[in-house]
Amino acid sequence: MAKSMEELMELIDKIPDTPAKPGEFILPELMAIAIAHEVHNDDVVFAGTGLPMVGIMTANFTNAPKATLIYESGICDGKTMHVPMSVCDQRAANMSSTLGGLVDTFGYYLQQGYVTLGFLGGAAIDKYGGVNVTSIGDYYNPSHRFTGSGGNSDIGTMAHRVAYIILQEKRRFLERNDYTTTPGWWCWDFKTNEWKPKKEVWKNTAYANNGPCGVVTNMGVYRFDAEGIIYLETCHPGITVEQVKDNCGFDLNVSKLTGDTPCPTYQELFILREFVDPELIFLPAKTPYTPDIQAIIDKG
């Protein structure tokens, strides 16, 4: 009765590529697809473990089949059959173009300027897209100590564009971070002890114009204005602007809101559920399909 993967592949184009309705998907699915939509077909993408990885894998199966996926352990353009649990999972290396190492990914690819999009997580973010994955409170005696940078500070500043996924809470959306792991559009100039636009601090370097292009949270999607200040672009279906503002530690610009975050399409959800994470490693559970979609699947 269960269909083979090959039979499921045959079905993809029969599943309507039209938006599902709220309630027909869960929040991690919406977020994974929102991440996927950040990827362009001509991107070289460098993604972190977790939902970013799930999102860019989905993109590689949907809207950005020609995008190059890089994993920091040294994997270039793996053609993945099973979702990796980590950036150095051999699953991610399947049929890759080259298998280098960290010097390749952070030196030859990233610092050399080949990476066009980084997609990363964060524990807290400031108004200018600066990210903290290190600690809250006094650095030497923190109230919370996180894992530390990993590739965050490298990828977040040397990729041409960078986007983040962050859990939205008042204490995570801040005017200023206690510790800036990865500077955003504004940052400290330690030479003059001034808070400045990053373009000035990074003057004349090749990376001066790189920076955050988007943030996906559990409540909405954000962009940055010409001054490098974050604003709300869309609210996830069912979330109000008031709720968003209540979960933000600074006076958030909501004047550019364009409406709701687009719902994932049935086809996107089908791919995500059947081909990206059918093992339910990152998705908490398999959401049932609506009866009409299930009918298409059953009919084969």
Partner: protein
């Protein structure tokens, strides 16, 4: 930085026990192979270190791993100079034992970033004292206030393995390219490198994801290779392009099948996510942790006993298929599907 050697090293074949005794000295600076908790962690070596009571390790690394998890569990790490302090599949979360030891003031954390540590090991490997890197200006990683080893008074030049500065920001002098950051080379006392195969002369090789194990091997004073199998050196010479480590950097070779468990060795066996969950659960309170250490670290008579205790089913399930990994191991809530072709290739080619 260079160490002038008047003669070539000659690798000796040792038991796990003897290699730990000879090379894993309390107080020394050690780097382990692999990346995160998933890939070629020389776990058997760290396990034997804990059994022998090695202490006060200065771990210098690109990640937390199964090795550092265990060393932190046994409070054997005094300085952790790295960039990502999670481990294994507990991605996104701090290693709980590390957090506990840090809160208790028993460990110094020195924060860098993946790229920065990769460059520091590259510099160490090529014998350069430092390397310029586009370490992000304005990041607190490169804020002099947050130099933990400096604050602890350890940058006084007395320890030849700790640089006098965490970093130096300087104006780029050749191209008018703004400011750049110099990072000191990493050049630990000991590299412990888990590989697939080693020749009996020391030439070593692995397949699959790369990490920076070649760089680490060259950056360290001493190099211990832990191999799934030791083969005649002649065997390694048939396809020299595939070998990463020339024999003359190797001090000791240890044959230790399944020695990277619960991490993976591509084309040999997969990682054991359920066992990593057991480790993580154990770390949540000291009693459970002690029970775990007693049961899994101190009780087994040998690494082989440890493996036998894991059971035959696990060894069967983890054995790699020709893709380099296993689809028989339950990693999430559902079994892995069998696929004939990646979806991206089927739909869009290369």
């Amino acid at each position: 930085m260079a160490r002038i050697r008047g003669k070539s090293k000659t690798a000796e074949i040792l038991t796990l026990d003897a290699a730990v005794k000879k090379y894993a000295l309390s107080g020394s600076q050690i780097a382990f192979s692999g990346f995160t908790g998933f890939n070629r962690n020389p776990f058997a070596f760290a396990w034997e270190m804990v059994r022998q009571g090695v202490k006060d390790i200065h771990s210098i690394d690109r990640h937390g791993s199964c090795c550092t998890w265990l060393l932190n569990a046994a409070s054997a790490i005094k300085i952790f100079e790295t960039d990502w302090m999670g481990w294994g599949e507990m991605a996104g979360k701090l290693d709980i034992n590390l957090g506990r030891n840090y809160k208790a003031g028993k460990v110094i954390l020195e924060d860098y970033a993946h790229g920065a540590m990769a460059m520091r090991f590259l510099a160490g490997a090529i014998g350069a004292p430092f390397i310029p890197y586009n370490a992000p200006l304005g990041s607190d990683l490169y804020n002099e206030k947050y130099d933990a080893l400096g604050k602890a008074g350890l940058r006084d030049g007395k320890n030849p393995k700790i640089a006098k500065k965490k970093f130096i920001q300087m104006e780029e002098p050749f191209w008018g390219n703004g400011d750049t950051v110099l990072l000191p080379a990493a050049m630990p006392d000991l590299a412990v490198i888990h590989v697939a195969k080693a020749g009996d002369k020391g030439t070593a090789h692995w397949r699959g994801v790369g990490t920076i194990d070649k760089e680490i091997s060259f950056a360290c004073d001493k190099v211990v290779i832990i191999a799934e199998e030791i083969v005649p050196e002649a065997e390694m010479r048939k396809y020299p392009e595939a070998n990463q480590i020339p024999y003359f950097v190797v001090d000791a070779i240890v044959e230790c099948p399944w020695g990277a468990f619960p991490s993976s060795v591509p084309y040999y066996y997969d990682y054991d996510a359920p066992f990593m969950r057991v480790m993580d659960a154990a770390s949540r309170n000291p009693d459970d942790l002690n029970k775990f250490l007693d049961e899994w670290v101190y009780a087994p008579a040998s690494w082989e006993e440890f493996l036998i205790k894991q059971g035959a089913k696990k060894l069967l399930d983890l054995k790699a298929e020709s893709t380099g990994y296993s689809t028989r191991m339950l990693r999430g809530k559902k079994p892995a599907p069998r696929m004939k072709m990646p979806l991206s290739v089927a739909r869009s080619g290369y």
